[in-house]
Symmetry: C2
Amino acid sequence: MAFSDQLSTIVTSVDGAIAVSIMGFDGIAIETKQVPALEQTATALELQNAWVEFGNVLGQLKQAAQTLKTGPIAELSVNTEKLVTLMRLVTPEYFVVLALTPAGNYGKGRYALRIAAPQLAKELV
Amino acid sequence: MAFSDQLSTIVTSVDGAIAVSIMGFDGIAIETKQVPALEQTATALELQNAWVEFGNVLGQLKQAAQTLKTGPIAELSVNTEKLVTLMRLVTPEYFVVLALTPAGNYGKGRYALRIAAPQLAKELV
């Protein structure tokens, strides 16, 4: 299954999903799927800006984990008043990021990323 | 209810909890409750080092949120291979942090912090 289809599966299966993307640690998205009905929400939240910021933090934690005793980082979630952001490492260079409304299905979102990550990793080789 | 009792309630109610703490953004803990049976785990993971690092990240996101359109930060979770860390803002100066084993009850942990945060905030005034 191509990137595009895998990302579509995530946004359609998770209630409250706004958009999902595969991004590099340079802040550049490879592919993004947005839920058309929530496009205005994504624009109002300036989702791309938030993702670049949160992606930087994930990159920083990835580095920090090398000196900590807690093992490599797998997942990061940043919850603000208006947005829930779930991120999961796919490869050392890329991660998948999912934006949800605060009332969205957090547990399902985490599950969807956990299942998708190894499949996305295969495509990225 | 004093800090100490509130923190004890959290660690005893969440399966897989290793320790919980109220910390300032200066990296100094006000009060910590550790599960005695998991003390060796906490020591092996060098929990305090991880918390200082993750607390820094939370502080950084708190600042970043001021320029983003996604609203103030409420919660951060950092999941590494050997440790799940949940953090929730209590006041602008303090946060509560909960360490869980990777198989711990993540959902219950988030719930416990969400319930405890406003109560802890009252004590911190």
